[in-house]
Subunit: 149 residues, 2 copies
Amino acid sequence: MAGEERAALEGYLRDRGLKMTETRETVLEAFLKMERHVTAEELLEAARRADPSIGQATVFRTINLLAEAGLAREACSDDGTRRFEHAYRHEHHDHLLCVSCGKVVEFRDAAIERAQDAVYRANGFEPVGHRMELKGVCPRCSGAKKGGS
Amino acid sequence: MAGEERAALEGYLRDRGLKMTETRETVLEAFLKMERHVTAEELLEAARRADPSIGQATVFRTINLLAEAGLAREACSDDGTRRFEHAYRHEHHDHLLCVSCGKVVEFRDAAIERAQDAVYRANGFEPVGHRMELKGVCPRCSGAKKGGS
DNA sequence: CTTTCTGCAAAGTGTTTGCAAAAAC
DNA sequence: GTTTTTGCAAACACTTTGCAGAAAG
C-alpha cells in the first residue's frame, strides 16, 4: 500500500532525530486514505476511527510534520480553514473541483502549462510555481439535477 | 474617483433597505485605494488613517458587505488569513505574483481560457469559474539580484 | 535512561456576534 | 420616530503551545 510514503516519513524523522510512532503512522494512514482536500478536523475524525484516543493537537502537529516532510501540502482554502492534499511523488498538478459534491479531479494539461509559460515570458517573470483550481459541476451532479437543494 | 463603485454599493444597500454611512464609505475608499490582496487587518489600518475611531468589527462587517455586493472577492489565502481583492467591473482575470516584492499583475490569457475549457470538456464538467495564481520573480527583482535576502 | 511524543486543557490568532448609544432615513 | 449601524467587549472557530505522564530509541 502506502509503504513508500511511510518510508519517506521515517527517513525524514530519522534525519532529524525524531521518532516514528504508532500515532503518527495512524494519522499518516488516515491521510493517505482520504481523497480530496482534507481539513484537520476531517483528518482527526478519520484517525480516531482507527484510534479513538488520538487528540486533536496531535493531528495538527502531525499534519504540519507531514507538510514539512513533503508528504502533504496546503491547498487553497476558500473559507478560513486550512486544507491539505497529498504531495508525495505527486507531480505538479492542478485541480478540477465539483462545487456540488466536492469531488476533486487532479489533472495536468500541457497546453495550459505552455500558455502559462507564455504569460511568464510576456511579463518578464521567472516562473516559480503556480496554483490553479477549476470549479465546475461534475457529470454525475449535473446529470442528477432532480432533487437539487 | 471611485464614484462608480460607491454608486454600486449604494444601489446594493438601497435595494436591501440598508444605509449608506460615512463609515462604510471610508472603508470602501480605503479598500479601493489598496492594491494587491488585502487582509482585514490591513484594511482596518488604512481605514483608521482616515478615521481612527473605526472599530475592527465594522471593517469585518463592511468587507463582507462589499463581497456580497460584488465589489470585493475573496482571494486565495496561503496562511489562515482571508484576503480580498477588487471585484467591481473586474472582468475575470488571473494573477501573476512576484514572490520577491509582492507585486501583482492581473492578466487574462485567451489560450489559457481555451485550454481550461478543454479540460472541463474532457472531464464532462460544466464550468463554474476558476482561480489561478502564477508565482514568479518579476523583472525588477530578478534584475536586482544583488543584495538579495 | 534520555529524549521525544501524546493528550489534555489553556492560550493564541482571526473573525463574528450581542448590546446600548449614535447615525441614517 | 423607526430602523440600521457602530464600537466595544465577549464569544467563536481554528490552530498552537505548556505540561506531566507515556512511549520510543
